[in-house]
């Protein structure tokens, strides 16, 4: 039996679930994301042990989904990121706690400026094998 991993059990399923609503999705920190995008990255604290026993490693996994859209003008960029966030919230699968969404802020990635915000997510993971 193949050993489980947070990538295959937590981050990739999350990425897959939102692929229908976000044009570009990433399950790790992208070097140069293409807008509009959603990227699943670790939050802090990232892994929280919270269960009894030590036979298996069981942790609460805290994640951030960073969502970004292009800034052509402020009004449309805000409208676009609001629509994208609402669509993503609807697509997040069961088993994930959905937390707050941060305020959108402009970010410079490479030569381009984007409008980005963060969705706090968490779930639970048990290592098998």
């Amino acid at each position: 039996m193949t050993a489980s991993s947070i990538l295959t059990s937590v981050r990739t399923p999350l990425k897959t679930a939102i692929q229908g609503v976000a044009a570009n999705t990433y399950d790790s920190v992208p070097e140069s994301p293409i807008v509009p995008f959603a990227a699943v990255v670790p939050n802090t604290p990232y892994l929280e042990p919270s269960f009894l026993g030590k036979g298996n490693v069981k942790v609460k996994v805290n994640l951030i989904m960073t969502v970004g859209v292009a800034i052509y003008d402020n009004q449309s960029a805000l409208d676009n990121i609001e629509k994208l966030v609402i669509s993503i919230l609807a697509a997040i699968p069961s088993g994930y706690e959905v937390g707050d969404v941060s305020n959108p802020i402009p970010l410079n990635i490479g030569a381009s400026e984007i409008l980005a915000c963060e969705i706090q997510l968490s779930t639970y993971y048990t290592q098998t094998n």
């Binding site: 042990p49 919270s50 269960f51 009894l52 026993g53 030590k54 036979g55 298996n56 069981k58 706690e97 959905v98 937390g99 639970y124 048990t126």
Partner: protein
Amino acid sequence: MATSVITGRDLSVTIATKNYNEQAQSATLSADVTIETYDTLFSKAYRSIDKQWTFDLEMLADWGATDSLCEALWSAAETAPNTTLAVSLTAVTGAVFAFNVLPIFPSVGGSSPDAQTVTMSFTVVGTPSETFS
């Protein structure tokens, strides 16, 4: 003696022969001891007259899961409320406590958007038996 540290990671809980470490976040066995105090002409006298044990368990709700504890407890509380369930609580390797509890209905639901949790306080029937090695 050297300092000894044991943590919640050393705990293990089994209810009706099934282990629920994957769901349980806290398990505590405690006793409420009733001690009477008597004022005598000579001095105060103390006498332990009764004790009631309680088993408190906090866990992630597991409705719908295979071997769900929530569903097993609900069924037991509904169909056999006076039939005890055997519990084994290992504090650490070499310190195991065995006792029986009466089934209770787990709470259902929770607050959005958090994971649903269940907090239960079981009445222990009789006195736990301990195994120290």
